[in-house]
């Protein structure tokens, strides 16, 4: 097992290096001019050249790549090998630090949403599958047709209009904490965890309040796909021979359902792993709606400002998280399904 994990981590590391080099070249192949973006179009040629040298863009590409990877010096704080992604061109702060601040914000929302969506989808999907043709089954089927067709940012706006502006039960979309509260000092970056660790229950309650709408929006838009998956897999499991056997043995329907659930969960876990990556990427739009300064907003800012170190950092960080989640999913898969263990 340990060997398998080490092997997978090694492959993931290689993939990341490949991705890093690919991203490095792709953004430099684009006809964008980050120097002009930084100094303005009316800058004198001297100022332009000076800024270009300050960004290190006057050096040959191979030298830039070496500095980025950390093989050759030239980047403050070293390169990838030294665990650095360079400094943001816009804020002059180390990208790694900025990511450590923004990425947990996004991950927190995605994890909460996936957790809630799965907890909702398992009973609903199973209930639908146990009574094919019933009202629950038809609703689950129809809802499943909407899977992947929902613009989450639009639903977020509708929910804000309804719950915050009309009913007044949710806070206005102003980030993740009541603006009058002092945020708890960062330990993990997950605001719920940090406020508990610091003993700040007022912040904890406020954070829950502010997280509710974005998380509900995400649950709403992804639950269709998860319910669909659970329903289909339970249906397939219920038609299998071991369920027939269990029924023939006279086992109560509850026990049969538990057997079917276990078989239905395995592919669902894989799906949830894939969703994690998708949501991490699509959180970009949702964060804008709720003015949450997570990795998505960071990505947008970096991209629109042609901030190459920030772009490279975000893409690599999202890819790293996705790869780690895939690994975790495969381990859970192996725990659920003995056939996958080898």
């Amino acid at each position: 097992m340990l060997r398998y994990v080490a092997l997978r981590l090694g492959i993931a590391l290689l993939q990341l290096v490949g991705l890093a080099i690919a991203v490095f070249f792709v953004i430099r192949l684009m006809p964008a001019d980050p120097v002009a973006r930084l100094v303005g179009l009316n800058a004198s040629p001297e100022a332009y050249a000076q800024s270009k040298a300050a960004l290190g863009l006057d050096r040959p590409v191979t030298e830039q790549l070496g500095a980025f990877l950390g093989v050759t010096p030239g980047q403050p704080g070293g390169g990838l090998l030294q665990g650095s992604l360079g400094d943001s061109w816009e804020t002059q702060e180390p990208v790694v630090e900025e990511l450590a601040r923004t990425l947990p914000v996004t991950i927190e929302i995605v994890v909460l949403a996936l957790l809630l969506a799965t907890l909702l989808a398992i009973p609903l999907g199973m209930y639908a599958a146990m009574r094919p043709g019933g009202l629950a089954d038809r609703s689950a089927y129809t809802w499943g047709l909407f899977a992947g067709t929902q613009p989450d940012y639009w639903w977020g706006l509708l929910f804000i209009l309804l719950f915050a502006f009309t009913l007044g039960v949710a806070p206005a979309p102003l980030g993740r904490l009541d603006p009058v509260l002092v945020p708890p000092e960062q330990i993990t970056g997950f605001i719920l965890v940090d406020s508990l660790l610091r003993g700040r229950f007022d912040a904890f309650v406020s954070a829950l309040h502010y997280l509710a709408l974005p998380v509900i929006t995400m649950v709403f838009t992804i639950s269709g796909a998860i319910i669909k998956m659970i329903r289909q897999n339970t249906l397939r499991a219920l038609r299998s021979e071991y369920v027939l056997h269990a029924r023939a043995c006279g086992l109560p329907e509850k026990t049969v359902a538990r057997y079917a659930l276990r078989a239905a969960l395995t592919p669902t876990v894989t799906l949830i792993g894939i969703f994690f990556g998708v949501l991490l990427s699509s959180a970009v739009t949702l964060e804008k709606v709720f003015s949450i300064s997570g990795a998505g907003q960071y990505a947008v800012r970096g991209i629109l400002n042609f901030d190459y170190p920030a772009i490279q950092g975000v893409v690599l960080a999202v890819a790293l998280v996705s790869l780690l989640v895939y690994l975790a999913v495969d381990l859970v898969h192996a725990a659920l399904d003995p056939r996958a263990r080898h």
């Binding site: 067709t149 613009p151 940012y153 890819a319």
Partner: protein
């Protein structure tokens, strides 16, 4: 698909959307990019709609009604919503069709010829597929310039691997079939076999995938402009309208953002269900 009505509904939606992409801007009652001078006018109450509709048809109204109201800039929301498919749907259609052609072509070659270069092609495509879709598209469009052509190319890059993978899997199984063997025995060259025999038999999965991909591409196009990395304002475009309408929510004006979102949901639903129905029919 349960009941043909869902399929027919999807067919109707996609037909209307495609027609709007062709004629939307010309049948819009107001210029979608020109202010009407009436700012933030709400849509008429539902009770007045039948009367207004009759008035519109008989031509007895002094000016066309603002069915969906007007926004902060005084633009007619209805005209913009029906003019938007020209942007959204043609970009999505272009991106999806380009990926279909490219992905199917490369997938056929990768599935039919076993060579180190085709193996490399598949690995590259796998790596591409592992990129975070939305962020990748955002980077490409923002850095290449926010022109329509660049959005189409970004969509193509993001979706080609899906078609490549589907077609390659199909071509792999078809290449082992007896009729390929027979064609080879009859003296046909590999390219002839590929074009005349393997291609028609490997197309089905990719064609089924096309409809759903168009839907996703519409979502992606709208999402890009929502965050400000898509087509520039004041182009009539659904995502851009939602983004601008979000500010109007502060005044309690819900109509500038609600109607374009509804249009996205209905359109993408139509393409998704159509794809779903085709899949059940042909598999």
């Amino acid at each position: 698909m349960r009941g043909g009505w869902m399929f027919r509904l999807a067919l109707a939606i996609t037909t209307i959307v495609l027609l709007l992409a062709a004629f939307g801007p010309s049948i819009a009652p107001y210029d979608p990019q020109e202010s009407t001078g009436r700012f933030g006018e709400p849509p008429p109450p539902l009770a007045q709609w039948p009367g207004l509709l009759v008035g519109t048809l008989t031509g007895s109204l002094e000016r066309a009604p603002h069915w969906f109201g007007t926004d902060f800039y005084g633009l007619d929301v209805f005209s913009r919503v029906i003019a938007a498919p020209r942007t959204d749907v043609s970009i999505a259609l272009g991106g999806a069709l380009l990926s279909l052609v490219l992905g199917t072509g490369l997938g056929l070659i990768a599935g039919f010829f076993r060579h180190w270069s085709t193996a490399l092609l598949v690995r590259v495509s796998d790596v591409l597929q592992s990129f975070p879709v939305f962020i990748t598209a955002m980077v490409l469009v923002a850095l290449a310039g926010r022109q329509t052509g660049n959005i189409v190319l970004a969509l193509c890059l993001v979706y080609t691997p899906i078609f490549l993978r589907l077609t390659r899997a199909e071509a792999l199984t078809q290449a082992g079939r007896g009729y390929v063997e027979a064609a080879r025995a009859a003296g046909a060259g590999p390219w002839t076999i590929l074009r005349r025999h393997v291609l028609p038999n490997s197309l089905v999965p990719a064609l089924i995938q096309l409809s759903a991909t168009i839907g996703f591409a519409i979502m992606l196009t709208a999402g890009l402009s929502f965050i400000g990395a898509g087509v520039p304002p004041p182009t009539p475009e659904w995502g851009l309208m939602i983004s601008q309408g979000a500010g109007d929510l502060n005044y309690g004006w819900w109509w500038p953002s609600v109607f374009p979102g509804l249009a996205i949901v209905i359109t993408v639903f139509g393409f998704a269900v159509l794809g779903h129905a085709l899949e059940e029919k042909f598999r």
